[in-house]
Point group: C2
Chain length 283, copies 2
């Protein structure tokens, strides 16, 4: 496995994060990116309303004291190779992907110079944040679209290539709010060794090396199908209900941590011991 | 544990079962209750529109060939002791509880002569069916009401006494359609040794002794928290997010079975061997 040493954190948000109140999650994104000295590049590729979405985030990041906040223009196919965009990102300490449609992020950015530079800067320590579509696109393989509020079915989801900032996981967003257990369980079918993360609204997982910490109002549901059996796949037609036995779940709220390598929540004792220190100082 | 030998089946339906098409689930209820010779008592206590609901079920049961279908009047507090109602039930081979509000079933029937007679007739072989509220009320302890589409929280659900036709389980309905994983996980907190069953719409679990079989379009999600740990209960205020680690899930569609004593899905091999025989002839 590729080393994650020296890489920037990933702030992966389940959508609908607070932008008006205490901005708990965006605050942690800014802090990870360098606090008031942060230089933040906003990527609006996912949304069909880039101006509005960009302005929203400029407003909140400026309110939190960041002086350099710039929206990258990614409205034409060749904007991903635009030297102006590359120059901004070259100096950024944090890149933030707005919500929208994750397929648009891939369409506008995947394979461009911006894509390479995002990965390079991330390896050098730049923090990458993303909400909703900006969360879904993080892994190698992402949920392109799918049905909410359904039991697992082979045709419940469409998977596709993601941006590859994190490996061997699948991420779903608006998790509890849109009833997406069946969708996430279905998504893991293609690669059961992967871990599934269902992130609630106004909730984030902050990935730092091999460990993640949960921040926000809801929870992150970890779905582990590595020991699961799919009992009726041979016989299934496309729209029929999948049988999945032996799925393991962990539901982790604010302050809880999870180790991506051991596939285990951080034990009760350690969590308790650390409960007094601020969430992000978990070494 | 009380013996379940000789008891009638329980047909526990997640709501919104098909009443216009092939009526797969209601058909199995009727078959279990004696087919065209069935004598069915409809209990509308849960609904504030007993006449409409009663007539709906009379229509569908008659369409399936049942000649004796009677609605029990339970609109006044003392209807539960009404000799007319008791006489009907005395002769019934199947009792069917409509949807509505499960608290009304308890209010009108619990502790009445009808309650005792329902349990007695069930022990003698009478089938009991129920949909939605009529499913929720089946266990000793039921979800009275609760929030859908939430992560687990201590205040997500209100539990209360159920009708006690099945022991050591909690039943939730409209499961995938209303995103009720968090609610069911929360409901098991009071008795983690119990099994949780989340039944999708137009889906049922048919309990026969220690075994259940799934019928219908969706799935039954079995939530087993017997090995789970609740990691932050000591510190939680009422509206804060619960941490639950090590929950086991089985998602079982049509034809799949589960043993309530061993707490295990019936193994792949056995299921396959029996896949050719009709669902309900699983001995």
């Amino acid at each position: 496995m590729e080393s994650t040493k020296g890489r920037g954190k990933l702030v992966i948000i389940g959508g609908a994060e607070d932008k008006e109140g205490d901005c708990k999650i965006l605050r942690e994104f800014v802090r990870a990116a360098g606090g008031t000295d942060a230089k933040i590049a906003i990527l609006t590729a996912a949304t069909s309303e880039p101006r509005e979405s960009g302005e929203d985030y400029i407003r909140v990041f400026e309110r939190l004291g960041v002086e350099e906040v710039t929206v990258l223009n990614t409205i034409h196919k060749d904007d991903g190779d635009d030297p102006k965009n590359l120059e901004i990102l070259e100096n950024a300490t944090g890149a933030f992907f707005t919500g929208g449609d994750q397929a648009r992020i891939l369409e506008y950015i995947k394979g461009t110079k911006l894509d390479s530079l995002l990965h390079q800067r991330h390896k050098e320590g730049m923090v990458i944040g993303g909400t909703s579509a900006g969360a879904a696109m993080m892994p190698d393989l992402m949920i392109v679209e799918g049905d909410s509020e359904t039991n697992p079915r082979m045709d419940a989801i469409e998977m596709g290539e993601g941006m590859g900032f994190i490996h061997s996981v699948v991420i779903d967003q608006h998790f509890a709010q849109r009833g997406r257990l069946g969708r996430l369980v279905s998504a893991l079918l293609q690669q059961p060794a992967n871990l599934g993360f269902g992130i609630d609204e106004d909730t984030a997982m902050i990935v730092d090396g091999d460990e993640l910490t949960v921040v926000g109002r809801g929870a992150v549901t970890v779905v582990d199908e590595s020991d699961a059996t799919y009992n009726n796949l041979d016989e299934l037609l496309k729209d029929e209900a999948m049988a999945v036995c032996g799925v393991k779940l962990h539901i982790l709220p604010q302050g809880f941590r999870f180790n991506l390598k051991t596939r285990k929540p951080i034990s009760l004792e350690i969590s308790k011991k650390e409960a007094e220190s601020p969430v992000l100082q978990t070494a």
